[in-house]
């Protein structure tokens, strides 16, 4: 039998890797690339995402006046004329306007002109064959319009052609300038980052985010470790029960979990009633004070992370050779000494993993906060990811700033990458992953 060639083995490996690579490409690289692209634009609800068109509007004329475009050009652009000429009649026929109606327009209104659509439409309504539907009348009127004002052109070329047709002897470069200013879509810019850097609000949200991540992370790791070690020393039946109990926050659907916290901390909720019975201040703990709101936010996320930590730490604990613990007991070590000198030193890898994984997931998670305090009271518990989400996708005024929101998200990606590298260095990841010095 012939041994399979190493090339084939490589190809097979690649084939096995393909699904993972496709997923990585689709769910990580592509979003990051798109976020990076969006971040360098001024995309918003007003500019749209898929590109704009070219329109000369009243407001545009006003700003062009402010910028010093000559009055004659502005005047010409602002005019709206309805001229009944041969070209107009042909356009009307081409637009499908009833032939009889067109004939009446030609007969009774030829060579007349109107300065407003309403005046022209009023005149059209006097004709015997006028259409019954309003829209048909408007289409007929529109065929005679000779104006660029408020007309949407799909391309720059069309706008420039229309401008050249409208303006007699425009000043040098005026057409290009007007066409550029009339664009309604997004443009490339680095302003998002500049604005983020100088906005006073930025540093407040950064502060909130650091506060939230550090405290929640500390809670995750400390409580996760505590739970893992205490269940480790419990008899197996009891430890199994407690492990399942502590898993509840993680396996409960996030919306239900948030609703349960609301019942727990809301006015007339569980804590409220107990506090009232004990004569303590009873109020809406989730939103009623900044300190209690932060406590709720940290606990809500903390318990989810703690159960995650507990599973990993429990697994790691079981891998510690039990003989080491027996030996230490023979030497008279206390429980604390066992934890301090045997267990913790062997937990470096899982602690590294939980810390780095949780830092990154806390940095980018906002859903629990959104569903509980929603960043309040005021905006005191607003963190970076929540602010990015609200800026880009969800706010009361409906002013979705995709560009600015993406820039905020990109900052988060960059911070995440930097932190990952720092963690790897700090915990000497390469040493842990290197080949053992003794061959087994």
């Amino acid at each position: 039998m012939r041994a399979s060639s190493p090339h084939r083995a490589n190809l097979l490996g690649l084939a096995f890797m393909t699904p993972a690579m496709v997923l990585l490409l689709g769910f990580f690289f592509l979003p990051v690339v798109l976020t990076s692209v969006f971040a360098f634009t001024n995309m918003s609800t007003a500019t749209g995402i898929s590109g704009g068109s070219y329109v000369v509007t009243g407001n545009l004329l006003r700003s062009l006046t402010d910028e010093g475009l000559d009055a004659k050009t502005i005047d010409a652009l602002g005019q709206s004329n309805y001229v009944i000429d041969q070209a107009g009649l042909e356009r009307a026929r081409a637009a499908g306007v009833d032939a009889k109606f067109v004939a009446e327009i030609a007969e009774r209104l030829k060579d007349r002109s109107f300065t407003s659509s309403s005046a022209f439409e009023r005149e059209l309504k006097t004709l015997p064959s006028r259409p019954t539907r309003v829209r048909d009348l408007k289409i007929a009127a529109g065929a005679f319009e000779q104006s660029v004002l408020n007309v949407r052109y799909a391309s720059r070329g069309e706008m420039e052609a229309a401008l050249s047709h409208m303006l007699e002897n425009p000043p040098e470069g005026a057409i290009e300038r007007i066409a550029t200013a009339s664009y309604t879509g997004w443009t490339w810019t680095t302003d998002n980052f500049k604005n983020l850097a100088i906005a006073p609000d930025t540093w407040r949200i950064v502060g909130n985010t650091v506060f939230y991540v550090v405290l929640t992370l500390a809670f995750n790791v400390a409580v996760g470790l505590f739970l893992a070690i205490t269940t480790f020393y419990l008899p197996p039946a009891g430890s199994g029960f407690f492990s399942v109990l502590w898993l509840l926050p993680r396996i409960t659907p996030v919306v239900l979990y948030a609703v349960m916290w609301k019942w727990f901390t809301w006015e007339d909720g569980f804590v409220f009633n107990i506090a009232q019975d004990l004569g303590l201040p009873a109020f809406n703990y989730m939103k009623g004070s900044v300190a209690s709101a932060w406590t709720v936010v940290i606990l809500v996320n903390g318990f989810v992370g703690a159960s995650f930590g507990m599973i990993l730490f429990s697994g790691a604990l079981k891998a510690i050779p039990v003989q080491q613990l027996w030996a230490s007991e023979v030497d008279g070590a206390s429980r604390w000494q066992q934890i301090r000198y045997i267990i913790l030193p062997q937990m470096r890898w899982p602690i590294l993993f939980v810390t780095s994984y949780q830092t990154l997931s806390l940095l980018s998670s906002y859903e629990q906060i959104w569903l509980t305090t929603n960043g309040g009271p005021g905006s005191t518990t607003t963190i970076w990811a929540l602010e990015a989400f609200k800026t880009a996708l969800n706010n009361y005024t409906g002013n979705l700033q995709y560009g600015l929101g993406a820039a905020m998200a990109l900052v988060l990606v960059a911070v995440g990458l930097v932190l990952s590298i720092v963690y790897l260095r700090l915990f000497r990841f390469d040493e842990m992953m290197s080949k053992p010095k003794i061959e087994f």
Partner: protein, 451 residues
């Protein structure tokens, strides 16, 4: 001999042609309508379109056409999710035919090409659009074009608990005279804070419930900016305006309210239910809301005697630079660029028919909103409703609207963030104003006038 068969075939051909014509005219059209801010008391935003569809179907039948209109409606109680849904649906070319939203969305949505100008589809010289209030048409216009048809109007008044006013020494006559004192500027926001404090001291309302403003973001907060002399738009240049002095006055007012103990520092973000329960249950001293809240309080929160329990007025002036005011925030029917021109034409016809005074009055009276036209205001069903007619005469003529401008959202967001920051004492008033100024200056440059 030859005539008869020819006649026969001609008759047969005509009959065949006629039958195919009937088949060709049978038409099923689906029109989708999405509405934000719509709960059980304002279901006529959608129902009116359904009623209009019935009328248009009958008109078609009389013309000999077989037309069936199916209305696919979707409503949202809030605004955040609704506006997100509309914007993203439009980006993926799935926008509904008709959108019912706040008029301020016309600015950004028209720029992005999400909307068809409704003036290209309807006749404002003909009934029922020719009796709409001109100021509401202005509110539905942007950049010289009319983009929407007003669906309702409202005012956002101040409310006072009559029993709590009496508890601090007001007589019936004093309470009656209060709205006039507010309007003249004699009774200011600070007089109101004093009264709220007195109510708390007299223990008729709990601490922190003397003054219960709107619990979250809304047009209402611009009223306080106006109370301190702020303007949102420069009438002459049409540019947005940020008045630092007015913003300072407004932020300081809420900080003072917190310091007086009549409203908590952590008030913003409270749920609507808690607020409704307190104000409708006479647990609050003074608050502000909308004309439509009366309908909600009666339908859901057990309010029995509105006029016996509450007094209402304009939002008082804050200082001598400001004025007593109220803001109307009409919702408008908008036509999206989604669907065919034929569908849009039908959708516009439905909107026009739904604006018929008898139909719109159903929405106005049921939801506590105000008439959109003069004919509607004189329909007995509307005119004989004490609240709608009182608000139409007493409040609506003094109401102004927020500007339609594609950049106004940026200013609004910054204004509210600053309010949150100063109210919760995260920032000082001066720093909050500075932050707003920096944010809007960076974002808008010379598109905004900062005074």
């Amino acid at each position: 001999m030859t005539v008869l068969p020819r006649l026969k075939s001609a008759i047969l051909a005509t009959a065949l042609l006629a039958s195919t014509a009937t088949f060709a005219m049978a038409k099923d059209v689906t029109i989708s309508v999405w509405a934000g801010g719509t709960g059980p008391t304002n279901d006529y935003r959608i129902e009116a379109i359904k009623m209009a569809a019935g009328v248009v179907e009958r008109q078609a039948k009389i013309r000999g056409e077989e037309l069936t209109i199916k209305i696919e409606a979707q409503t949202w109680t809030g605004w955040d999710d609704f506006k997100q849904a509309v914007t993203l649906a439009a980006e993926s070319k799935k926008a509904p035919n008709i959108i019912v939203s706040g008029h301020e969305d016309i600015g950004p949505w028209s720029q992005s090409g999400l909307l068809r100008p409704i003036e290209d589809y309807v006749d404002f010289d003909a009934w029922p659009l020719n009796q709409l209030y001109p100021n509401l048409i202005d509110v539905s216009s942007y950049d010289g074009r009319i983009w929407g048809i007003p669906q309702d109007a409202e005012a956002r008044p101040f409310f006072f608990s009559k029993s709590h006013l009496k508890a601090i020494g007001y007589s019936d006559a004093d309470i009656e005279a209060l709205p006039a004192k507010v309007e003249s500027g004699e009774y200011t926001l600070y007089s109101m804070l004093d009264d709220a404090k007195k109510m708390q001291d007299a223990k008729v309302v709990e601490p922190g419930k003397g003054f219960m403003p709107r619990p979250n973001n809304g047009t209402d907060y611009w009223q306080f900016y106006q109370s301190f002399g702020g303007e949102m738009i420069d009438a002459e240049s049409g540019k947005l305006v940020l008045d630092r002095q007015a913003l300072t006055g407004m932020y300081q007012f809420f900080v003072d309210a917190v310091e007086k103990g009549v409203v908590p520092a952590t008030y913003l973000g409270m749920t609507w239910d808690t607020w409704h329960q307190a104000v409708a249950g006479d647990k609050a001293g003074i608050w502000h809301g909308g004309t439509w809240h009366k309908a909600e309080w009666e339908a859901k929160w057990g309010l029995k005697d509105f006029f016996g329990q509450m007094q209402y007025s304009l939002i008082p002036a804050g200082n001598e630079k400001g004025r007593a005011n109220t803001i109307t925030h009409p919702l408008v029917y908008l036509l999206s660029t989604g669907g065919s021109d034929e569908d849009a034409t039908l959708a516009a016809e439905l909107i026009t028919t739904a604006s018929e005074p008898y139909i719109n009055a159903l929405h106005a009276v049921k939801s506590g909103h105000l008439a959109i036209g003069s004919a509607e205001a004189s329909i007995p069903f509307y005119a004989n409703d004490r609240w709608t007619s009182a608000a139409t005469e007493g409040l609506l003529p003094k109401a102004n609207a927020i500007p339609n401008n594609s950049d106004f959202g940026v200013v609004w967001k910054a204004m509210y963030k600053g309010l949150e920051a100063s109210w919760t004492k995260t920032n000082s008033v001066a720093d909050a104003v500075k932050a707003v100024e920096t944010e809007v200056r960076n974002a808008l440059g010379d598109k905004i006038v900062i005074r």
